[in-house]
């Protein structure tokens, strides 16, 4: 048995059977969990009852939630599936929340106090259409009725039990229904829409039985465009197809009339086409021309008049009936650092019910939505509260001129995460928290000691637990020895960067990136990627670390890119630029310059490589390594993998010395009729590997791992089988797995799983890859492992040669020295389908690995890599057992204690990130989705540190007592000896 293995065993033999569960009182010590809902799309207040005031919201992340209006906490929350988009919510009968989702085909009612589902009904129709949900006050046999237009059909559904009372189809082809209106106090509804884009259609339908009362239509040659605004229950405003003429469409008593008003008549210098801001305020609507918002009143005689032109960014809320015949609406305008919240009466522009000015954090950007709600003050007047949704997706409640609470719901949509070290503790660095004084320290230790000696009262135990949870040690703003305190830097879909402290999950800073801000030049900016740019650790310690944010103006791949550099300590944007080229790939190179800035290659859509940073030093480093840098691209839509080398100059006439042309070296064309790429995965660039040898204890042998950064795992499935599970028979479905060297394009390994199907999730680490797929024949999910070993170095086995160093094991390897590899693989059944998979990573790579599996239940499960060892056999020998080989079983066990999220769920789990801590045994795990979860995880237990419940005070006291006892007994024995001598 080899020496190191034996020593390792000796040192950590207590960890051979790692128990990963934690005790109840350890929850929250190293982990934190945050719940979010995403960007709010619609909000309905529920404040009539005397109970807890709440607001029901639906979000763009398909969440329905009720929030406490006092604090903004979530009462309950339901996350619908990713294709179950919420179209509308209403509150019915004061106790149900009715939601329409899944493109208008599913209607559900939830109990308002506790969020339980009361009923669900599915609505079908002939074809897909806009979905509208209207709450009516029509009563049929004591049932309140909700009217839904979806899938080109009008449905009336009972609020009590979800029964469909009647439905009605419309014969007209290509009818685009815009609104369903119920005039107050009437028993019929108007269904209005455009047909063939030049006809206005109006149906009047009896709400009790769905009978068609009247159908009118009117032609308008100019066509209609965009949204409509309702200005009374029988009048609406639309724009013609050019966006230059306002149309007031009245269908009073079923007589349709269209009145045209060119915008230029109302506004003298109207430079371009207008857009209607959809609203339903009595006698008032708003249009937007470029950045100017214009409010126009519709008088009783049908005349249009401009009441205000607002040059600032303005958000308009929907109307709110405050008393009989009176409507109020909210208006929020930006003015420098402040925002102005105004609540006006619909029929009286001049009289403001409320005018408040609130200082707003610049990092929240513009206001996107506003929802207002009224309450009656003690003096009988009306007060208003406003719920506003900002550009960074955050949600704020304004009341009485202050921000009552805010929620950072941008964190529900993280695109990319990286980490950054905190500053080193020294004189110049301000430590945010004041250190505990000596007395408190002593008191804390005495309490702990009492706890250890089981003398603590329940209050003491509570105090100890509070102390442990709120320890200032873990939330300090400086680096610690164990490397547990770091900054998690997250880029969200809204284009905002957040820095979260790993100790307690608080937001250290946030930055709405100006480069990802919507502007003239960049209409639809999206963030793509976040890379650590500068990680100073040796000779550049005075500099702050920084991150690189890469974005793009628009969804197409040839849109120009934007890059931005952000200081990780302060959260200030150091510099940003919009690029002349597009960004198709971001390749961090394994080279840094003298200030520890990492070299990056940005590949554009024309396959030119652009080097960053643009400094002469960088180009010098790059030129030195020029011939050894390659890149590849996986074109997953046409099944081609291509490898490229760099050319010293750009192809075009661009005189840019930081631009390099590329030439194609190799290509792998997968047959499109039989294979479709579904997953690719590579090793993490910064993964630490401790050893290149795999020791086989059984026959005292050694195998050499094939460790290469340039390996690509590609999984393809039959094109037929790329759909849902079960859509194909096992005979016409297969999964092919490739291991490709991306420098030479050499396929190192290829394996076909017949009768298997995606979706494929895979993780690549060291010399192994684990992937998860569905086996159609066995009707179960499977996980397979492939381990790759280098056969060409396998003859390095002579001990004497190794002792004197005559071997080629440390000499650099080239992909062109064609190597023989052997692979070992094995498949196991696995119960769960999964959303994400990751592997633990530690600082030196010595600690054994565990797989972190994001299950379909939104939890993170740890699974020891030893379970996925291809060398497991039914009856392992004694030596194999000692080595830790587990007897072969056909399925992988799910140990309930090894859920590292314990009893929490990371709703909408999308990614799991592992970051090594300084302490070799520990890895930091961050799981993100709608919720965020962070914890420390020790795959082989914390063998290199004392456990948290180890009592230093007890040890000290024991030592002191022992020393005292030794001294006393020494004195006593001296005395006795003396007496003996005198005897």
């Amino acid at each position: 048995m080899p020496i190191t293995y034996a020593f390792l065993l000796f040192l950590i033999f207590s960890s051979l059977q790692p128990i990963l569960s934690l005790y109840e009182d350890q929850v929250g010590l190293t982990d934190w969990h945050q719940q979010y809902i995403g960007k709010v799309k619609q909000a309905v207040f529920h404040t009539h009852k005397t109970g807890r005031k709440r607001v029901v919201v639906s979000t763009e992340d398909n969440v329905i939630a009720t929030l406490d209006l006092r604090r903004g906490e979530i009462f309950w929350r339901h996350v619908l599936g990713h294709n179950d988009v919420v179209d509308g919510i209403v509150i019915a009968l004061g106790k149900y929340v009715i939601t329409l989702s899944s493109e208008g085909s599913i209607l559900r009612a939830w109990n308002l106090p506790d969020g339980q589902m009361v009923w669900e009904s599915s609505l079908h129709g002939p074809k897909h259409s806009k979905s509208l949900l209207v709450m009516t006050n029509v009563v049929i046999e004591k049932d309140n009725v909700v009217i839904i237009f979806s899938n080109d059909r009008l449905h009336a559904v009972s609020c009590i039990d979800g029964e469909v009372l009647w439905n009605k189809d419309f014969e007209v082809e290509s009818l685009e229904v815009q609104k369903v209106i119920q005039p107050p106090g009437s028993n019929f509804v108007y269904v209005v829409g455009f047909a063939a884009s030049s006809h206005f259609e109006m149906y009047q339908i009896n709400a009790r039985n769905g009978e068609l009362l009247k159908h009118e239509s009117a032609a308008f040659s100019g066509g209609f465009s965009g949204e409509v605004s309702l200005v009374s229950s029988e009048t609406l405003v639309a724009l013609d197809s050019t966006g230059l003429i306002l149309l007031r469409i009245s269908f009073h008593k079923g007589n349709v009339s269209i009145q045209q008003t060119p915008i230029s008549n109302l506004v003298e210098d109207s430079p371009g086409p207008a857009v209607i801001i959809p609203s339903s305020i009595m006698e008032l609507f708003a249009i937007k021309i470029n950045a100017v918002t214009i409010f126009i009143r519709v008088t009783g005689t049908g005349k249009l008049e401009v009441v205000e032109k607002a040059n600032h960014e303005t958000a308009v809320g929907d109307a709110l009936s405050i008393s009989e015949g009176q409507q109020a609406f909210g208006l929020v305008q930006h003015a420098g650092r402040d925002i102005h919240l105004t609540v006006k009466l619909a029929h009286d522009w001049g009289g403001d019910l409320l005018k408040e000015s609130i200082i707003m954090d610049q990092q929240r950007g513009l206001i996107h939505k506003v929802f207002i709600n009224n309450y009656v003050r003690t003096d009988g007047s009306y007060g208003f509260r406003a719920l506003i949704v900002m550009e960074d997706h955050s949600l704020l409640l304004l009341q009485q001129g202050t921000i009552v609470w805010s929620r950072e719901d941008g964190l529900a949509s993280i695109i990319d995460v990286t980490t950054s070290e905190l500053p080193v503790e020294r004189a110049g660095v301000s430590v945010a928290k004041v250190e505990l004084n000596l007395f408190e320290w002593l008191k804390g230790h005495m309490l702990k000691l009492k706890g250890t000696l089981m003398l603590a009262s329940p209050e003491d135990i509570a105090a100890i637990q509070y102390m442990r949870l709120k320890s200032s040690e873990k939330s300090k703003m400086t680096r610690d020895h164990n490397g547990f305190r770091k900054l998690l830097i997250a880029l969200t879909r809204a284009g905002k960067l957040f820095a979260l402290h790993t100790g307690d999950g608080r937001i250290v800073w946030s930055l709405l990136l100006q480069s990802l801000h919507k502007s003239e030049a960049c209409q639809h900016p999206i963030g793509l990627n976040l890379c650590p740019w500068q990680v100073p650790h040796h000779h550049a310690l005075d500099e702050n670390p920084s991150v690189l944010v890469v974005g793009r103006c628009g969804p197409s791949s040839d849109a120009p890119g934007v890059i931005s550099f952000v200081d990780s300590y302060t959260g200030k944007e150091l510099s940003s630029s919009s690029l002349v080229h597009s960004v198709a790939q971001v390749i961090p190179l394994p080279y840094t310059d003298s200030t520890e800035q990492r070299l990056h290659l940005l590949i554009d859509a024309d396959k030119h490589a652009h080097l960053y940073p643009k400094t002469p030093e960088a180009i010098g480093i790059f030129r030195r390594e020029f011939s050894n840098i390659y890149w590849y691209s996986v074109e997953d839509d046409n099944g081609i993998i291509k490898g490229y080398a760099l050319k010293s100059k750009c192809d075009g006439n661009v005189a840019d010395k930081f631009c390099f042309g590329t030439r194609e070296l190799w290509s792998i064309v997968l047959p499109s009729e039989s294979e479709k790429i579904v997953a690719t995965v590579t090793r993490k660039l910064n993964e630490a590997v401790h050893t290149q040898a795999k020791l086989i204890a059984a026959d005292q042998d050694v195998m050499y791992k094939y460790i290469s950064r340039n390996l690509l795992f590609v999984a393809t499935v039959a094109p037929k089988a790329s759909g849902e599970i079960g859509s194909v028979t096992p005979e016409e479905s297969w999964l092919v797995v490739y291991l490709i060297d991306t420098v030479t394009g050499f396929v190192l390994h290829r394996v076909t799983h017949h009768g298997s199907q995606g979706p494929v999730e895979a993780v690549f680490s060291e010399n192994w890859v684990v992937y998860h797929y569905f086996n159609l024949r066995a009707h179960r999910y499977e996980m397979s492992v492939i381990e790759i070993y280098d056969q060409s170095r396998a003859d390095n086995k002579d001990v004497w040669k190794l002792v004197v160093g005559k071997h080629n094991l440390t000499s650099p390897i080239s992909s062109y020295s064609r190597s023989e590899v052997v692979t070992k693989s094995q498949s196991y059944f696995f119960t769960h389908s999964l959303k994400a998979i990751a592997v633990t990573s530690t600082a030196k790579g010595i600690t054994s690995k565990q797989l972190l599996i994001g299950t379909i239940g939104d939890q993170v499960l740890a699974l020891d890599k030893r379970f996925l060892d291809p060398r497991r056999s039914v009856n392992p020998t004694q030596a194999e057992r000692e080595e830790g080989t587990i007897p072969l079983t056909d399925s992988l066990p799910i140990i309930p204690q090894s859920y590292i999220t314990h009893n929490l769920r990371v709703e909408g789990l999308r990614g799991i990130i592992t970051v090594p801590a300084e302490l070799e045994s520990t890895t930091l795990v961050f799981a993100h989705g709608l919720d965020l979860f962070f914890t420390h995880f020790a795959p082989s237990r914390t063998y290199d540190s004392l456990t948290e419940d180890f009592s230093c005070a007890l040890l000290l006291i024991t030592i002191v007592v022992l020393v005292a006892a030794i001294f006393v007994t020494w004195v006593l024995s001296q005395r006795k000896e003396l007496q003996d001598k005198w005897r």
Binding site: W631, S633, Q692, Q700, T810
Partner: protein, 179 residues
């Protein structure tokens, strides 16, 4: 060894050397008792003391051989202990093995001291010494063998390669699915 020390070693508190042949009383701290003449006593006891000396040297030689053979018993006991300890690495087997290594080494270091009491011009100590050394070397070998069976000796290729970091790669390639 222990026995030898107890009889002949430094365990004595005092001694009168009757074989002291010096004639000058001044060489001693205390004067001779009255009536005692040193010269005549010497002449009378000369034959007796020779006989005594022969017996002593014989006894010394015998003891030296005994001491030299003592590690053999040790060796047998060690072997038994090692067999009992088994071949897995744990605290007991490690302790046994290291004591099995340490005892011969310390004995070999003190080989001169062990045979010090039997030093005599007439006693041939080379034989016992060689036996003593050989037996202790045997004990050492046993310890090393045990160490090896425990897997604590770097005699396999794996012991030399496991600390080698992975080799550097010449080429670097990056990329993936376009963003």
């Amino acid at each position: 060894m222990e026995k030898g020390k107890g009889v002949m070693g430094s365990g004595r508190r005092w001694a009168v050397d009757f074989s002291d042949n010096s004639t000058a009383p001044s060489s001693r701290d205390i004067p001779d008792p009255p009536g005692f003449t040193r010269a005549s006593a010497d002449q009378d006891d000369s034959t007796v003391s020779r006989q005594k000396k022969d017996a002593e040297s014989n006894w010394k030689a015998q003891k030296a051989w005994e001491v030299a053979q003592a590690p053999f018993k040790n060796l047998l006991m060690m072997g038994f202990m090692m067999w009992m300890a088994g071949n897995t690495v744990h605290l007991f087997s490690i302790g046994i093995t290291f004591s099995a290594l340490w005892q011969p080494i310390s004995a070999l270091q003190g080989v001169g001291k062990v045979f010090e009491p039997y030093k005599d011009s007439k006693v041939e100590l080379l034989g016992p010494k060689l036996l003593f050394i050989a037996l202790n070397l045997g004990g050492l070998a046993l310890g090393v063998w045990k160490l090896n069976t425990l897997g604590l000796l770097p005699t396999h290729a794996s012991d030399w390669v496991s600390s080698l970091p992975p080799a550097q790669e010449v080429e670097y390639s990056g990329g993936g699915i376009p963003l």
